[in-house]
């Protein structure tokens, strides 16, 4: 493409396209970054997904009353997935961290060390005590119906800053989480806005991105092929004047050619210096968090990091061992990621969300045939109240917001629904959640459907 053609006016583009608005709009939407309609604080999103449902009363929501009443019935009964019994005090101790003095559980002591950068929401709630609908709610804003994921909406709205990498990347080791690809589907948005799932257990680039590796020829020979292709396409186009679609396709080959080199680089952790490896520590979670940072750094718009395949945080039994182990795996890497982003000046415009699809009951789960192993030392799902935290991109620092009731069963003060969280995050990204719509099947769809309000108190 000749350089002047890069600056086609919209009308010129349309005139050349001849494919109707729809096709052109999509072609241009695929390419490059876009400014959001409103002022924004965050340019990209990092979602750390503690899938399976992390217990809030064992991590970020200390409940002395629960410890006090441990083993005794509590006056709250809310329907969860399974039967639960008496109050079950946290087996972990809490202590205040930082200037803000926000209390965090011992199992997240490293993240606790960063608490002055966090905005902990202790009054989250969602709708249904089952994984599938709650995953769908947190990811797609609707418990059942086929709707685009948050990441798809964001990449649809903001485009990508690095055309050599996908704009929306999901990291999950060892396979897929519950609900699989549905968690990052684009639904009625174009397929290009669906996330690319990457198994972070893999180290080979060709297993990370399909067809990324040229195994057939030397790079030099591939260049020679592309030069011939350009020549052939130029001849074809000369007979057809400039056509935006033809040009876009020519460009996409050049882009793909460059992508082959750059993608390698993004996933190559040997390029990280020793002190960075030390900061993140060992293991799969450290590896994931480092990859996440490298992707964000390269302009990937939305990175979602899942703890693992299936639903690892789903501790129906043995919460002490299981939550202890899971937190041990990710506490240091998450804290490292926060520090690393901060020292690179990226925390300011990266919006980080941490949490699971719901919390867990403050009461102990009772044995049930075929459902748990009957140990009576775990917790059931709890959509009524749980904790999540935000950090970076325009949120208040060192804030603990809202509260659950005295036992931690349900959000009680300053409740924040998942829809509200979405509305607030979209606001920080420069979108009015009520106006950020997509017309499909006769309706203007929104991430927040007909719900959601911006929680102003969370904004810096």
């Amino acid at each position: 493409m000749k350089s002047k053609d890069l600056f086609l006016t919209r009308r010129e583009m349309l005139a050349r396209c001849g494919m109707g608005m729809g096709a052109l709009a999509l072609t241009s939407e695929m390419q490059g970054a876009k400014r959001p309609p409103l002022p924004f604080k965050a340019k990209r999103v990092l979602h750390l997904f503690m899938n399976g449902g992390c217990s809030h009363v064992d991590t970020f929501d200390p409940k002395p009353a629960l410890t006090k009443f441990s083993g005794k019935p509590i006056p709250i009964t809310l329907k969860t997935e399974r039967r639960t019994g008496a109050a079950f005090g946290s087996p972990f101790s809490f202590k205040p961290y930082g200037q803000s003095g926000i209390e965090v559980s011992e199992i997240f002591s490293n993240v606790g060390g960063c608490v002055d950068d966090l905005c902990v929401i202790r009054s989250m709630h969602t709708d249904i005590p089952n994984h599938e609908p709650s995953l769908m709610m947190l990811n797609c804003g609707d418990v059942r119906q086929v709707r685009p994921s948050f990441g798809s909406w964001v990449t649809y709205g903001l485009g990508t800053e690095n055309e050599n990498l996908p704009g929306f990347i999901v990291l999950c080791p060892d396979g897929l989480p519950t609900q699989g690809n549905q968690n990052w589907r684009s639904a009625f948005l174009p397929g290009a806005f669906q996330a690319t799932h990457i198994d972070t257990r893999e180290v080979q680039i060709e297993k990370l991105i399909e067809n990324i590796r040229n195994t057939a020829t030397s790079t030099k020979e591939q260049r020679r092929q592309l030069d011939l292709l350009k020549e052939m396409n130029r001849g074809f186009e000369e007979r057809r004047q400039n056509d935006a679609l033809l040009e876009a396709r020519v460009q996409s080959f050049e882009l793909a050619y460059r992508m082959q080199m750059e993608a390698d680089d993004a996933f190559d952790l040997t390029k990280e210096p020793e002190h960075i490896h030390k900061l993140y520590g060992e293991g799969l979670q450290a590896r994931q968090m480092m990859i996440a940072r490298r992707l964000l750094e390269r302009g990937v718009r939305f990175v979602q990091v899942w703890h693992g395949a299936g639903q690892p945080w789903d501790s129906h039994d043995d919460i002490k061992t299981n939550h202890g182990r899971l937190a041990r795996e990710c506490d240091q890497p998450i804290a490292a990621l926060l520090k690393d982003l901060k020292q690179r000046g990226m925390l300011e415009d990266t919006l980080i969300l941490w949490g699971g699809e719901f919390g867990r009951t403050p009461t102990v789960e009772l044995p049930d045939l075929g459902a748990n192993s009957g140990m009576v030392n775990g917790r059931d799902h709890n959509p009524y109240g749980f904790s999540m935290w935000l950090a970076g991109g325009g949120v208040k620092k060192g804030l603990a917001y809202g509260a659950t009731d005295e036992f931690g069963f349900a959000a009680a003060e300053k409740k924040v629904h998942v829809h509200d969280l979405h509305a607030t995050m979209l606001h920080l990204l420069g979108f009015n959640h009520e106006k950020f719509t997509y017309r499909y099947a006769g309706r203007d769809f929104r991430l927040t459907d007909v719900h959601g309000r911006i929680v102003k108190d969370l904004l810096a």
Partner: protein, 956 residues
């Protein structure tokens, strides 16, 4: 708060609308108070109506909020609204802030006593403006061209000159069959100067069996066709006989089955008297959509949506929670169709469509699983009934306590007391022995563990069924039938299943003249629903279909929103033309082939796609069709045409789905590719394949680098490039280039092109890198012989393009494990590159679920020289497979062999053997690889470039 408040009666306000009202009272005393004190939270203008309640229109007041109905006309005491403003109820005090003055409360009471009348508002009722698409299509005399020319002339425009013959044969061939003409066909057509040559060409293509293959894919997008139920995350999601629906569509299109029958059979073939049984396959249209575990309402929603948007261009699913905001579709229409689709079931035995080898082995296995299912059910049912009997006192008390309770209150009670709602309902109905819930209702009383276990058993059954089908079981129709006694359906207020409103008998859509008064009578009403769609007086059906056909020939429909003919959809660019096509379509006996013929013979279709700056200035989107649109070819055709150029395309019509990710590639057309819902192959996804998650009105056209990566590096394209080059007979570069141009682009190269190609061919300085050899081989043991797997599919070696695959049975090998076949040992073979002592590590693992079945697997290590070295069994367990100090010679093989033992079910295993010799290590998982990468010669690299050209990717 209202959201937790109780309600004692359900009531439909519509019943009182239109009574003689004291409307003045409402306007002067009630509405101002609502506006001042309530609209802030409860109106359409409120950011998020609280408790799902709006008070700013009659319809909104009538439908109530999350707590249910608001008013009981004539009975203030029973009305939620009055109770809340009286503030007598602790949980129910409205509005927030100071209580309403006593006299205002009295005004409200009087209003309710009077029947709570509200003036009718236009906005809340069916839109008054008539929707264009609901008017009967009228006939205006004229040809396709005359309608188009008229609009063009108004703007001072005219058609472009006719496309050259080569362009035209390519265009019409790709449009009708999806396959480009061969160079010979193209040349013959160019030479045929007879006046009827084009017409003959069109007729030849319409008669081609490939026409049905091509156009079936358009329909499969409409029908959200897939070969698996949901995500493949869970095993056993594969449909056994999905392909019989796809093949039915192909053969129906090839036979030009009239479109009205085409629709009728897809909705109700089982209800049409004396119908050839082969048409039962058509019911896959209903059956093959997404299924939502634990949410039948979503499955039904998907069916309503596919039927109404797909066949009528009406967005009926918008009316699920409220009357359609724009189109004349009330909520009751939605629930009327809900009852049509909810009173369905899968027949016990799916109807046979043809002959196939009897499969006593599979029948035995299926029967065994059915027995396991029945046993489980009976055992757990008996246990549950005994348990409920033991709770008699609790239920007796709950029955007494819940006498006056509403549904939400009842739900709350059973939650608090941990009782079963269904059992309590039986108690409340005064049934004898209420604990003895019938066995058929087991699903209403079972526990979460039971739900998991029965699902696991169902998955096991479906897995076996699909295995039987893919192993040659006689084809069956994915049919449905009505339940013997249809259950009436209520409106679900705000889409909430637990909040039933008025009863909705099944009937035709209101906007098509249907109403409660004329309910469907036969069964659940599916046949009558279908007939209401294909009734020649239905203004939508023909318009929607001719528009789809038009869209696929021109790139854009006359209505640019092909599945939305409502107020929010686009208006037709040429309404008279659309109507004329629709009327003719019906009068021609709903013949799609006649419709194609009419369109394809028009001057409009035959235009060139060349630019015209003046016309472009006036109509940049080409809505008036002053030229033909250049269009990107769909992925199906791209792939098919590469196979065609390579001389590999298989032309058999119909059959089992094949993997599209296999190496070597399946030679079958892409329409036969296995479509896994939620895991569509990257190739299809990158090229805007229609998501099978829901009905797809049209495909997007995106240009992303993943598409280019596919062309640059995918094994598929490389393989076809090599095969195409192998077709070339000539030896001289110039002749070779000519042959390649003919094979790939069906034409001769120009002088400049030829020169460039020859230059490319002559400057070959690629050195062949030496391929590294892997010591691992993958296969099965047959009659004592090692037989390597022929197909590598993404992440596994297998016996064919689908599994089970003939003599390879269901055997596969994956990086960390695999599965043996039926009475077939699967083998990962290590060929020793050295002589000396080695150590072997690894763990053989086999998993069992909560309801174990099968007998696990046996793993062995067998040396070609020393025979069996060791053997282990894993059955829901694991075994360390350690051998130390084994002496091997160069070329000796060690087989890591796994067999199914006696029982061939549930034989998935994990086993990553690691061979160590001094510092050297061979890790079966890390070393796992597919076939070695292609090393195309320079001729193949030229073919590769030709596949990448815009000319190959576009139709003009």
């Amino acid at each position: 708060m209202l959201a937790r408040g109780s309600l004692s009666a359900l009531f439909c306000l519509n019943a009182v609308l239109g009574q003689t009202p004291a409307l003045d009272h409402f306007e002067t005393k009630i509405r101002p108070v609502l506006a001042a004190r309530c609209y802030g939270c409860h109106s359409a203008a409120a950011a998020a109506p609280q408790g799902g309640l709006k008070l700013d229109s009659a319809a909104a007041i009538a439908s109530g909020g999350n707590s249910g109905s608001l008013l009981v006309a004539g009975d203030p005491d029973a009305s939620l609204l009055i109770r809340s403003i009286r503030r007598t109820d602790k949980n129910l005090q409205m509005p927030p802030g100071p209580a309403l003055p006593k006299e205002v409360v009295t005004d409200f009471e009087r209003w309710v006593k009077d029947g709570a009348p509200i003036p009718k508002e236009a906005a809340a009722q069916a839109p008054t403006k008539q929707l264009w698409s609901l008017r009967k299509p009228g006939r205006t005399a004229g040809s396709i061209d005359s309608f188009l020319v008229k609009r063009l002339a108004e703007k001072g425009l005219a058609f472009s000159p006719e496309a050259d013959r080569r362009t035209l044969i390519r265009r019409v061939s790709l449009d009708l069959t999806g396959l480009a003409p061969t160079a010979a066909e193209s040349a013959a057509y160019e030479a045929d100067r007879a006046p009827a040559a084009y017409e003959k060409l069109v007729d030849r293509l319409l008669a081609s069996p490939h026409y049905g293959e091509r156009w079936s894919r358009h329909w499969l997008d409409v029908a959200r066709y897939a070969d698996s139920v949901n995500d493949s995350v869970n095993a056993g999601q594969r449909y056994a006989w999905s392909y019989t629906y796809r093949d039915w569509v192909i053969s129906a299109l090839n036979a030009d089955l009239p479109y009205d029958q085409f629709v009728l059979y897809q909705l109700a073939a089982d209800r049409v008297p004396n119908l050839d049984k082969k048409h039962l396959a058509a019911l896959g249209f209903i059956r093959l959509g997404r299924e939502f575990p634990n949410s039948i309402a979503e499955t039904i929603d998907d069916r309503i949506d596919a039927a109404t948007r797909g066949l009528l261009g009406m967005t009926v699913a918008c009316a699920r929670c409220h009357d359609h905001k724009f189109d004349p579709i009330p909520t009751k229409d939605y629930y009327s169709l809900y009852s049509v689709f909810s009173n369905l079931r899968e027949p016990e035995q799916l109807p046979l469509l043809g002959k196939g080898a009897p499969q006593p082995v599979y029948e035995q296995r299926l029967a065994r699983i059915r027995n396991a299912q029945a046993e489980y059910r009976q055992r757990r049912h008996a246990e549950m009934v005994a348990f409920f009997r033991s709770q008699e006192a609790e239920y007796r008390k709950a029955t007494a306590d819940s006498k006056a309770m509403s549904n939400p209150e009842l739900e709350e009670l059973v939650r608090e007391r941990q009782l079963n709602l269904h059992v309590l309902r039986r108690w409340r109905q005064g049934l004898p022995d209420p604990a003895a819930v019938p066995l058929e209702e087991f699903e209403k009383i079972y526990t979460e563990g039971d739900s998991n276990n029965t699902r696991a058993l169902r998955v096991r059954y479906n897995t076996m069924l699909a295995q039987a089908a893919y192993d040659g079981a006689p084809p069956r129709a994915m049919a449905v039938e009505d339940v013997p006694e249809p259950t009436p359906v209520h409106v679900f207020i705000r889409g909430n299943m637990n909040n039933p409103g008025a009863l909705t008998p099944p009937h035709a859509l209101t906007c098509l003249g249907g109403s409660d008064d004329q309910p469907f009578k036969e069964g659940a009403g599916r046949l009558e629903f279908a007939k209401s769609i294909i009734d020649p007086s239905n203004p939508l059906t023909a318009r929607v279909m001719v528009n789809r056909v038009w869209m696929h020939h021109f790139g854009t429909g006359l209505v640019a929103t092909p599945s939305d003919f409502g107020f929010r959809g686009d208006l037709p660019s040429h309404p008279e033309l659309l109507d004329s096509l629709a009327v003719d379509f019906v009068e021609s006996g709903w013949s799609l082939k006649k419709l194609h013929r009419r369109i394809l013979l028009s001057t409009a279709y035959k235009q060139g796609s060349g630019d015209n700056a003046a016309a472009r200035g006036i109509d940049p989107e080409n809505r008036l069709l002053w030229k033909a649109n250049r269009r990107r070819i769909e992925i199906e055709s791209l792939r098919d045409n590469m196979l065609l150029a390579a001389g590999k395309l298989e032309r058999t019509v119909g059959g089992l789905p094949v993997s599209l990710t296999a190496q070597p590639a399946s030679p079958r057309r892409t329409v036969y590719g296995f479509v896994e819902r939620g895991k569509v192959p990257g190739m299809l996804n990158a090229f805007d394949f229609a998501s099978p998650d829901q009905h797809a009105p049209m495909r997007f056209v995106t240009t992303v680098p993943q598409q280019a990566l596919f062309f640059l590096n995918s094994p598929f394209v490389l393989e076809q490039a090599e095969a195409t080059a192998a077709e070339v007979k000539a030896k001289a570069p110039e002749e070779q280039a000519r042959e390649l141009y003919r094979l790939v682009l069906s034409r001769e190269p120009s002088t400049a092109e030829l020169a460039a190609a020859v230059r490319f061919l002559s400057a070959d300085d690629e050195t062949k890198p030496t391929a590294s050899t892997s010591p691992w081989l993958y296969g099965v043991m047959q009659n004592g012989q090692f037989r390597p797997f022929p197909v590598f599919n993404g992440d596994r070696w297998q016996g064919g393009y689908a599994v089970p695959a003939g003599t390879f049975s269901k055997a596969v090998l994956r990086p960390a494990g695999g599965e043996p076949g039926d009475e077939l040992t699967v083998v990962r073979r290590w060929v020793s590159p050295l002589g000396g002592a080695i150590n072997i590590e690894g763990t053989l693992r086999h998993g069992q679920g909560a309801v174990p079945y099968g007998d696990g697997v046996r793993g062995r290590i067998v040396s070609s020289r020393q025979g069996d070295l060791a053997s282990w069994v894993a059955n829901g367990s694991s075994a360390e497979t350690k051998l130390n100090g084994i002496k091997v010679e160069i070329g000796e093989t060690l087989d890591f062999a796994v067999d199914p033992r006696q029982d061939p079910e549930n034989d998935n295993f994990n086993w990553t053997p690691i061979v160590k010799a001094g510092p050297q290590t061979w890790n079966a998982k890390d070393d796992f690889a597919g076939p070695p990468p292609a090393r195309p010669n320079v001729l193949a690299r030229l073919a590769h470039v030709l596949f990448q050209t815009n000319e190959f990717a576009f139709v003009e």
